[in-house]
């Protein structure tokens, strides 16, 4: 059963028709990867789902329509968001970044510090002085702090060193044990490691849906859909 359903999502930015009727479903549990070449609308899809850009179409979570809600209310329904550029608050400390993300209930600091012990050590450090990888940890930790049924995670490994990519992938795997993840990711090795389902976009439309194993096991399909050589395993 689909936990998240996106139907006929359209986004215009200026004169450009970025998303042209994007529709797909995200099943409950595990990781669904949203793939595609650069500039096909993956980040815009997540931003539109979060209400961060003007859009038409519907997005529903467990049958509840989200599209009429403002961004903060969508998050409060249980949609966590890790943006592409991390967007940590540079002038705030790591602790303050995390505290800001608390939304009532019991924040899951144990989980966050289990995944990213470094954040505990660097609690008083200004987030703007962290490395890219550490900032990514803060961004993911903010989303994991609350018990969100769904996480939208946008290119978490972008620009990271290989060791950090492994660490982030491990965190995503752990997150997927607790919640449903919709992941935008260019690194196919990470996709192969964490994702079960894939949705492929091209020119603002969905051009393929299926299992990750089926897509990544077919180098010709990977090449035609993603414009890269297969063999990510």
């Amino acid at each position: 059963m689909a936990l998240l359903r996106v139907q006929d999502l359209n986004v215009h930015l200026g004169e450009s028709h970025i998303l042209q009727g994007v529709s797909f479903e995200v099943p409950e549990g595990g990781v669904t990867a949203l793939l595609g070449r650069n500039g096909v609308g993956k980040t815009t899809t997540l931003r539109a789902m979060m209400g961060l850009v003007p859009r038409r179409g519907t997005v529903s979570l467990a049958g509840e329509e989200l599209t009429r809600l403002p961004t903060h209310a969508i998050v409060r329904r249980g949609v966590g968001y890790v943006p592409e550029d991390r967007d940590v608050f540079a002038g705030l400390s790591v602790d303050e970044n995390l505290r800001l993300a608390e939304r009532g209930g019991t924040p899951r600091y144990e989980l966050v510090y289990e995944l990213f012990p470094e954040l505990k050590i660097r609690g008083a450090q200004k987030a703007g002085t962290l490395s890219g990888g550490q900032q990514q940890m803060v961004a993911i930790a903010r989303a994991l702090l609350n018990d969100n049924p769904v996480l939208l995670v946008d290119e978490p490994t972008k620009g990271l060193a290989p060791l950090l990519v492994t660490e982030v992938a491990a965190a995503l795997e752990r997150a997927a044990e607790l919640t449903t993840v919709l992941l935008v990711e260019q690194n196919l090795a990470v996709v192969a490691r964490v994702a079960q389902q894939v949705v492929v976009l091209d020119m603002g439309r969905v051009v393929h849906t299926g299992t990750a194993a089926e897509l990544l096991g077919d180098p010709a399909k990977v090449r035609s859909l993603l414009g890269v050589h297969g063999g990510s395993h």
Binding site: H72, F89, G91, N146
Partner: protein
């Protein structure tokens, strides 16, 4: 030496008023991206509300001023919150319309004050001990200067504590950096907007009260003249920075006083514009931009 001390403390008193006006402007722009041209009218309204209340209550001048100032500051805060809720909120992401509305509102509020209380200046309830002087290093300093400086320091400390130690302060500091990301953490940032407007309105009204004490009278043009220098202070200090605003306010107040005395009377305003030009050339983003502490 005594002249220099007098100029310095008077400059600090002026800087205190600039800071009170500019801190609200700076936070409002830093958090919400709204250039509030009606902020000067809040100074005028705060001053007139205080003056009016002082004519309604009994007691000595000190009690009158205290009660009336609390009333004036409350009026400033409530009016600012109403402005945000009714006029600004429907116009987020529409900066041109915001400017037109706030300029129009400033004109309307000033005209309203003139229509009700006339164009003439009104005597402000200043207790005699504030008019008296205290000798500092040979200079006779009117006591109101110390009140103005102390009020601004208290507001600066209070704002810093609020921003540093409260959840709303955290939201405002984060919102100054990246408003969209604050909402993406599930926070209704609009409540912070209203709060910041109210805080700015209260600080502007307090500046109105203190300007009444400083000049001994209130007049309808008071807010406009203070607002011009407050905008300069905000640009020099950096939008969204309370610390930068405080430093810039002191610099502007002192330079104005020194230039007026040591160069030529009337050159103070020109010196401030020169300072603005120098900062814009060397550090266009201001002394401490976009960090609200």
């Amino acid at each position: 030496m005594s002249t220099f001390v007098l100029l310095t403390i008077t400059g600090l008193g002026l800087g205190a008023m600039y800071f009170l006006v500019a801190s609200g402007l700076s936070l409002i722009y830093g958090l919400m991206g709204v250039l509030n041209f009606a902020h000067g009218a809040l100074i005028t309204v705060g001053a007139y509300a205080t003056w009016w209340m002082s004519t309604q209550v009994g007691g000595g001048q000190g009690t009158k001023l205290l009660v009336a100032a609390v009333f004036g500051i409350a009026v400033g805060a409530v009016l600012a919150a109403l402005i945000e809720l009714v006029l600004i909120r429907p116009l987020y992401q529409r900066p041109v319309e915001q400017v037109l509305v706030t300029v129009g509102l400033a004109l309307v509020l000033n005209a309203l004050v003139e229509a009700i209380w006339g164009f003439d200046a009104r005597p402000f309830p200043v207790p005699s001990w504030m008019i008296d002087t205290t000798t500092v290093l040979g200079a006779s300093i009117p006591n109101d200067r110390f009140v103005e400086i102390a009020a601004a320091v208290l507001v600066l400390l209070g704002l810093n504590a609020f921003l540093r130690y409260t959840r709303y302060g955290l939201i405002i500091r984060a919102g100054v950096e990246n408003r969209a990301m604050v909402t993406a953490l599930g926070i209704d940032v609009r409540k912070a907007f209203t709060l910041v407007f109210a805080i700015g309105g209260a600080a502007a009204a307090l500046a109105g009260v203190l300007s009444g004490v400083y000049y001994g009278v209130v007049d309808p043009g008071r807010g406009t003249s203070l607002l011009i220098f407050a905008f300069i202070v905000v640009v020099i200090g950096g939008f969204g920075s309370i610390g930068g605003t405080a430093v810039a306010a002191v610099a502007v107040g002192l330079i104005q006083q020194y230039a007026n005395y040591y160069a030529s009377s009337g050159l103070g305003d020109l010196a401030v514009v020169l300072l603005l030009a120098i900062v814009l050339l060397l550090k266009p983003e201001g002394l401490a931009p976009k960090v609200a502490h």
